[in-house]
Symmetry: C3
Subunit: 273 residues, 3 copies
């Protein structure tokens, strides 16, 4: 049962270093606090090695990358690897520009990631080594559906095998796979797509789950995905007439704050293929 | 009736590239999603041309400008012009510093803007080619009132004519003008001034309205102003005892999320002069 | 009574220049507006001298420092000193990295600060001239408790004397001291630690209090601490089943928005030692 993995986060209070975009960074910090972790942000090359050294995990998100922060991603990533910390890549917008695609691919070569979490278009771009995406959202043509699920699961496993990282591909149906097993997760609500940064928030939170469950990368990543999706369901159930995406954002973070082992065990909706 | 213009945004789902300040960027993203658009942020010179190419509109906001982002503004602005995308300038703090004033004026020379949206002090600074403002808020001495309305309308039209851009001047009374017609808008609430970034949010949303209504710059800009102001009224009506500016911020974004053609048609409060 | 000091903020509407981290900057802006101040952000070296010149106070927060913003901190700090503006330092993460510690110490040498506000681990690092902290949160071993209060008060006074700045050390028990007197404040709630940036928010708000009460640095700083803590209590009293840290964040800012002289006079919980 996945509830144990969030319980471990609350016990461990993992300190997570985030090199992340300035659009959603505040929500990433509050979600990390909500799930029981502790966030720290730093993206200056001269600062990141020491900051990442005092943490247990590193979350690299290329959402508003620039020359300075890219340098920091490599420096911090290598340092985290050297210290055997957990490291996650969120390749925001890979496929939308050459700089984003190339940075993500180069990071995958020079840094060992425990998990790569993105939407299906971003992960397909990384699998192909090039590609195009419609901005930071997944292309409809790429969407994982009940019809193409078999193929998508196979793709996720193969990507995990080739990259050496757990693949966490989120969308209407979420896939979290290593080379042999794939969690197919059906939590969440379509309205979550109307809130900026639920993916970024998930990546930050997932890094805390990885740190707190060092021997269970696949299950920890799946538990984080279920936590986010279930929080989306619980938050939605608390919406009232006239509420919209801003209140929904607060409700989801609140639901993560209140998530416990039992709630997650009961609400997590997944199968393993 | 202006309701059609938001309906078009929801149908078109315009992708808007924002080079904007880090203070209010998260709200800008959520407001863009609330109105039916889709946001993407990028401010690295090497990244912006490709990012803006996949979008339909570009929102340039100089609120926390720096050397790097300034370079990106010119690169992206020229690229957007070359692709005939809609482009908007929000000259935050023009008049408050030489760098801000000069950057805004230089942008106006080298980039063709469909709309320039700012407070009256900022726009007066741009009209004069120099000036001083009290920080990022309009100077009281500049305020558009019922008493000086005739003059202000004339000023707005002349600014639009000279700049070649629709002028969107927001305050207690909002003016949206091209060289011949001026929407005088009386939506909104004074308490909106106690929330950071309602102007930035409006600029992001307005860019989506421009993209979705390419043949109606003036009306689209006016519709965005009415949407924001009306959302301010609706949001305020939902405030409860003990609520303050933080809840009000959420309520306004929620109201935009729920805004439809009929609500906007009925609630928009304007005259054309 | 401390209520007078917030009343003065609402009368004066102090314009505060913030060079602050991008994690919590939006909340800092909204808290400044909530308490009656007016925020402006700028961190480009070429921009900051003019921006700080039009303000009454400068809030320097090293939370996500980089080479560019560090240069801006020195430029703005010296300019603010030359103009006799109020200046505050928030040494986020001092002790967590060499760059942070060294930057804070060098700022203290070259800029005169009216107040230095941090957690106990950060302030101890500055007192020693070096040190380690657990990320951006205070180390448990450093915590100010009823048991070590005498020593902590003595430490705060000595730090104030040596640094020439009022020391505002926040935690479960808050200490605000000059060389002779120390406010020992017992407002606040432990749940505030589950919201990112309550410290940053306090620093921004405190700067407004300093500007509006130029002859009472110690009392103004203490009043700001009581305002934040009391808002934390009031906000918590409005929490409902299912609410969490995201709603709590909104409730606290709302409570600051509604804070008046009487509420602060009645709710402030402090003694002077």
């Amino acid at each position: 049962m996945l509830g144990t993995y969030i319980e471990n986060v609350r016990k461990c209070v993992p300190l997570v270093h985030n090199i992340t975009n300035y659009v959603t960074v505040n929500d990433v910090a509050n979600v990390l606090l909500a799930c029981g972790g502790s966030p720290i942000m730093s993206d200056e090359p001269e600062d990141v090695a020491e900051i990442t050294a005092i943490c247990g995990g590193l979350n690299i998100n290329i959402g508003t990358l620039n020359k300075r922060s890219i340098e920091s991603m490599f420096t911090a990533g290598k340092k985290a690897n050297a210290l055997n910390h957990r490291v996650l890549l969120d390749p925001v917008g890979a496929g939308a520009s050459t700089l984003r695609t190339d940075t993500a691919l180069k990071l995958m070569k020079e840094v060992k990631f425990d998990v790569i979490r993105g939407n299906i278009s971003e992960i397909k771009t990384l699998a192909r080594g090039s590609g195009t995406t419609k901005g930071v959202d997944a292309d409809v043509a790429d969407a994982v559906t009940e019809e193409n699920l078999e193929d998508a699961v196979r793709f996720a496993k193969r990507f995990a095998e080739k990259s050496g990282s757990v693949a966490a591909i989120t969308g209407a149906i979420d896939l979290v796979a290593d080379s042999e097993r794939c969690y197919v997760i059906r939590n969440g609500r379509p309205e979550m797509g109307k809130i900026t940064g639920t993916g970024c928030q998930l990546s930050g939170m997932m890094t805390a789950f990885l740190v707190a469950n060092p021997d269970h990368m696949l299950e920890a990543a799946a538990a984080a995905v279920c936590t986010m999706g279930l929080a989306g369901e619980i938050g939605f159930s608390r919406m009232q007439e006239g509420d919209g995406n801003s209140t929904y954002r607060n409700r989801i973070i609140d639901a993560i704050y209140n998530m416990d082992k039992d709630t997650l065990d009961k609400g997590a909706n997944y199968e393993v293929r």
